[in-house]
């Protein structure tokens, strides 16, 4: 079985973001980057499939971006991926999700992958579109927002998280693309020996122009930091009265209480 895991490197979300000079993306200078958190769930699930089925499973970890994304790929290899693909693109943020999915599809189309894992979304762009578009382009089944995954033969059973606290069970056959949500698993920490072994694993790099695809369908017009909202609500007065008002606010403005 051949598995593809698509990962992205994103800034540490605790960074202070500034808009770049073009005004359509954040300034990458001085930011620390790490593996997109949702992609860690994707990697972990792929490695679990390998543990379930044994060494007949081969996991390819793919990332699109500048040289720094090699760190994200290597982390994937240290977690248990078998080989890495780096599609070199110094400005991946200029591509919309449709183009990113097209690049991956162009790479993957003739590789006979059975299963593609990716994160539900990236933490920086957050479009949650790449997995779905990729499935469509490859003609694969697709399930998004997974919180449980099971594979029996070529039959996949997943639990999908829906809005409003609902879940759905889906069944479908391979080949498939699935996108992974927090709660699916607890990603392992790469051990030091596995970090060392990852250095020996194949990591091939290709220019993104090898996979030239369609023009973009959407473009970012402007990126900006929203104006700061007012301060939090401070309730003051008698404890019982404040508690009643708090319950009212929680019922009215949140889904914590119904």
């Amino acid at each position: 079985m051949k598995i593809l895991v698509c990962v992205k490197q994103v800034p540490d979300m605790e960074s202070r973001f500034k808009v770049n000079s073009e005004g359509v993306w954040y300034d990458e200078k001085d930011l620390a980057f790490k593996l997109n958190e949702y992609d860690e769930f994707a990697l972990e699930q792929a490695v679990r499939v390998k543990e379930q089925l044994g060494n007949t499973v081969d996991i390819t970890v793919l990332s699109i971006g500048p040289d720094r994304v090699v760190e994200a790929i290597k982390k994937g290899l240290a977690m248990g991926g078998d080989r890495g693909i780096h599609i070199k693109d110094d400005h991946p943020w200029q591509k919309d999700p449709w183009q990113i999915a097209s690049v991956i599809a162009a790479f993957a189309r003739d590789k006979n992958f059975d299963l593609v894992f990716t994160g539900l979304q990236s933490q920086d762009r957050g479009s949650a579109q790449v997995g779905g578009i990729l499935a469509e382009l490859l003609g694969f089944a697709c399930a998004t927002t997974l919180v449980a995954f099971e594979l029996n033969g070529d039959l996949v059973t997943v639990r999908q998280e829906l809005d409003g606290g609902m879940c759905a069970i889906l069944k479908f056959k391979l080949p498939a693309v699935v996108t992974c949500q927090m709660g699916l698993n607890t990603p392992r920490y790469p051990t030091l020996p596995n970090i060392m072994k990852a250095r020996q694993k194949e990591l091939l790099a290709f220019p993104v122009t090898n996979f030239i695809g369609p023009k973009n369908l959407a473009a970012t017009e402007r990126m900006y930091l929203p104006e700061k909202k007012g301060h939090g609500l401070v309730l003051e007065g008698d404890v019982n009265e404040v508690a009643d008002r708090l319950v009212g606010v929680l019922k009215e403005k949140t889904t914590v209480l119904r």
Binding site: L35, E71, P190, L192, P193, I195, R199
Partner: protein, 379 residues
């Protein structure tokens, strides 16, 4: 010239950082208060391979380089200096001398359990009357058939309470001074090894600092490390390398305190503004950060020198001197920035201040480091 960490080092750094954030940081206050690192945490540290970073793969380690080891100790020490020194003393003071001075069969026998964490390593050098003056040691050995018999007392043994694998130093004749000293690999569970106490300390309270009484301890000939009379050289060379580990620990402590002080200065409002807008605080932060970054450069460079088999004794003395004095300075200023809250356990910088001080003392005091550096300059 390249001042960037390689992608492989960055993967290691971010992986260890994730582990520390989730598994070590939440326990740091408890470790200090209970004077104990929980067994489960030590198991997790072992399972991740943090105890065998630069031990070659053939002996069960990860086979990484010295810089990787320094990064591990630094990251762990950002959250918990007690856990940092467990790794540092184990790796630098027990694994490293076996790796460098051990016979092939000693490496095959002793390194795999150390790399896997089944045995925690320690270094039995210091005595009540022999601290910086190592050659004055009173622990004596004599030959007994093929082996040796050792008697004496050892104090301030980091990790001693685990009763794992120790590198024990003893003299055959005090008149021979440093030429009479030999090193032995001993199982601290052996008959004749008695723990007198584990010290109660100012800082690194989760780490064992143990006093031993050694009474007619029988050591087989195959456990002699290096040759007879080579013990002083083994001790000194081991400490040269150990200083990089302690400097990395000090760097981590300083960074942990700085991160908290920086964040707090932006949150804490006085007179209607965050205190980070006050120049008195800004200048503190600038000085703290400058000392941390210069420490980092010299710690990483010392690791690189050792890895590349270049002479590093002066650099390791400088990196330990500078990083440890940076750690006490930065943690002190971090408390000052926190004001009264900094004095309270919950904010953790008071613990870091207590933890930092020992880095100026163990594995060679700051005074000894200055002696090493100035001797090299003037020789």
């Amino acid at each position: 010239m390249d001042f960037e960490l390689s992608p492989d080092h960055k993967v290691l750094q971010s992986s260890v950082r994730d582990f520390v954030e989730k598994e070590v940081k939440p326990l740091a206050i408890q470790i200090d208060e209970n004077h104990k690192i929980p067994d489960e945490l030590i198991q997790k540290i072992s399972a991740l391979g943090l105890l065998g970073s630069f031990i070659p793969e053939v002996y069960g380690g990860a086979g990484l380089d010295i810089l990787s080891y320094a990064l591990v100790v630094e990251e762990v020490s950002k959250a918990c200096a007690s856990s940092g020194v467990l790794i540092s003393a184990h790796t630098s003071l027990a694994c490293d001398p076996i790796l460098h001075f051990g016979t092939e069969s000693q490496k095959q026998k002793f390194l795999p359990p150390l790399a896997a964490g089944g045995k925690i390593g320690s270094f039995l050098l210091t005595e009540p009357e022999a601290g910086s003056d190592v050659a004055n040691m009173a622990t004596m050995y004599r030959k007994d058939g093929d082996g040796f018999i050792i008697n004496g007392n050892k104090i301030f043994v980091t990790n001693g309470g685990f009763r794992g694998t120790g590198i024990l130093f003893a003299s055959i004749d005090r008149n021979l001074k440093h030429k009479g000293i030999s090193a032995f690999i001993v199982d601290l569970e052996s008959e004749g090894v008695e723990i007198l106490r584990n010290e109660n300390k100012l800082g690194i309270r989760g780490s064992f600092t143990t006093s031993f009484s050694i009474n007619n301890l029988k050591v087989p000939a195959e456990n002699l490390l290096g040759s007879e009379g080579q013990g002083f050289k083994i001790a000194m060379e081991t400490l040269n390398g150990g200083r990089i580990g302690i400097a990395a620990q000090a760097l981590g402590i300083a960074e942990g305190a700085f991160e908290r002080a920086l964040a707090y200065s932006k949150e804490r409002k006085q007179f209607g503004h965050p205190i980070s807008e006050l120049q008195s605080i800004q200048f503190k932060l600038a000085d703290m950060y400058t000392r941390i970054e210069t420490s980092r450069l010299i710690v990483y460079r010392s690791a690189w020198l050792k890895e590349n088999k270049k002479s590093y004794a002066v650099e390791s003395a400088m990196c330990k001197l500078h990083a440890s004095e940076t750690a006490t300075y930065v943690t002190k200023e971090a408390i000052q920035i926190h004001g009264g809250y900094g004095y309270v356990t919950e904010y953790e910088v008071e613990r870091m201040y207590r933890d930092a001080k020992i880095t100026e003392i163990y594995e060679g005091t700051s005074e000894i480091q200055r002696l090493i550096i100035s001797k090299a300059l003037l020789s």
